[in-house]
């Protein structure tokens, strides 16, 4: 007898819920620490030093130019070998690290984009008043850049929710991992549709929140 999608969901919903919690958690960890690391990387990118710029550029280019799945495999197998201290860490942590690194590259790019979206005249005005570069950045440029950065960061979180589905490959308990669990019970196709539906509901809902955020930022700009 074949169970319907609905039957499978009713029967196994705690597994899916646990998976969803895992997905949201891993995405949050990736974007939170990715934002911290990405901010530091973006400092390299905007520094007036060619060596630092190059390091930042290479970092961002490599992490954005290679598939996350490849990065995860490398993190999973080679990170513990390359960095002995990581030997003490479990495999799960290595996969999470690769999520964080990947996210940090995108966040660095978001911050760079946000800063360059601010009119050059703002920096010139601040500096011509005799403001230091640091003050001009902190008091004039960043408060304006943040309007562009915040919605993009939220979108990065939504993107990460989908990206974390790859972590199931490494036995991390997130939404996609429920597929593996239920496949062991010979449930092949029903879980896939349930999983797809849950991703869709979550990303559409969060996208609506981002739209609201953008609207509010636009209003406060006009006010």
């Amino acid at each position: 007898m074949t169970l319907s999608i609905f039957d499978v969901f009713i029967k196994y919903y705690p597994l899916f819920l646990k998976g969803l919690v895992g997905t949201l958690k891993y995405a949050a960890i990736a974007v939170f620490f990715g934002s911290i690391l990405g901010s530091l990387i973006s400092l390299l990118n905007i520094a007036k030093n060619t060596v630092l710029n190059t390091i930042g550029n290479v970092y961002v280019t490599v992490l954005r130019g290679t598939p996350l799945l490849v990065q995860m495999y490398i993190a999973y197998y080679f990170l513990p070998m390359a960095i002995p201290a990581l030997n003490a860490l479990n495999k799960e942590t290595c996969v999470i690290i690769s999520l964080i690194l990947n996210s940090s590259a995108y966040v660095a790019e978001i911050i760079r984009g946000g800063i360059s979206s601010v009119d050059i005249g703002q920096m010139e005005a601040a500096r011509s008043l005799g403001m230091s570069y640091r003050h001009a950045m902190v008091k004039v440029i960043l408060p304006q850049a943040i309007r562009a950065i915040l919605p993009s960061l939220a979108n990065e979180y939504i993107a990460m929710i989908k990206e974390t589905s790859l972590a199931g490959t490494f036995m991390l308990y997130e939404l996609m991992y429920t597929r593996t669990l239920l496949a062991n019970k010979y449930l092949i196709w029903q879980p896939l549709f349930i999983i797809a539906f849950i991703y869709l509901v979550v990303t559409v809902f969060l996208s609506m929140l981002v739209k609201l955020l953008e609207k509010r930022l636009a209003v406060s700009e006009r006010a």
């Binding site: 009119d119 008043l129 005799g130």
Partner: protein, 250 residues
């Protein structure tokens, strides 16, 4: 305003500036005295804005020097020293460049509080006095998006004035304004000039340049082609290029 003493405030020597292959300034020597009002006229792309922007090192010249109050500022290391110099050189831009995320009042008080360590009370008292002068006192708590172009430019002028500069540089201050806003902004600049402030004004407003200036420079093709008292420059131009330019714009 014409009986200013002859103390040289800004001295420019052999100024050269290129953008890539394009040589924009081809050797300018100039002296601006304290209290003097100098207008710079000339065709677009002739180098007048670049010249002005070299005076506070927004553009860094490749060759030559800018001596401000006796100090060669092209030799200063970028950083604190240059910031201190720039605090004494106010600048007003064509596109206003007011800070959109700050109220009118905060636009004015931000830099004095940050860089001159004025208390909020001191900075605000000064800001209110300046806003009163330019008729923006009732806008103090508004954001710039609620201001007209003319009001934004007047805000930009008092924002620069709040640093107590020794000279004010104006880079085509009325070129981005609707025609009906121009007069109000020019009146503010005129009041400043009459109060004895040294002003260097890049402008296309020939009538204004003629009536307000102690001296007019005609810059084209990266050099000062002709200069002199406004009557001479406008009534009796000597070079062909200035004659052609004036025919074009008057």
């Amino acid at each position: 305003m014409k009986e200013h003493d002859k103390e040289v405030l800004i001295k420019v020597e052999d100024l050269h500036k290129s953008f890539g292959e394009l040589e924009v300034l081809k050797g300018i020597d100039e002296e601006i005295a304290r209290g003097e009002v100098v207008s710079i006229i000339g065709p677009s792309g002739g180098g007048k804005s670049t010249f002005l922007r070299c005076l506070n090192l927004l553009e860094v010249p490749e060759q030559g020097s800018v001596i401000f109050e006796g100090e060669d500022i092209t030799r200063l290391s970028k950083g604190k020293d240059l910031d201190l110099i720039r605090q004494r050189i106010g600048m007003v831009f064509q596109q206003f460049n007011v800070f959109p995320h700050l109220t009118v009042l905060d636009n004015i008080t931000l830099t004095p509080m940050l860089e001159k360590k004025l208390s909020r009370k001191e900075a605000e008292e000064k800001a209110y006095a300046l806003l009163e002068q330019v008729g923006l006192i009732d806008k103090a708590d508004e954001y710039p998006s609620r201001l007209s172009g003319g009001q934004k430019q007047r805000l930009a002028i008092v924002r620069a004035m709040a640093m107590d500069p020794d000279v004010m540089l104006f880079d085509e201050p009325t070129s981005a304004l609707d025609p009906e806003m121009v007069k109000g902004v020019l009146n503010v600049i005129r009041d400043l000039a009459l109060s004895g402030m040294t002003c260097v004004i890049v402008t296309h407003e020939m009538g204004f340049a003629k009536s307000i200036s102690d001296r007019v420079l005609f810059i084209d093709d990266g050099v000062v082609i002709e200069e002199g008292a406004p009557e001479e420059v406008f009534e009796n131009p000597k070079s062909e290029r200035l004659q052609a330019f004036l025919n074009e714009v008057l």
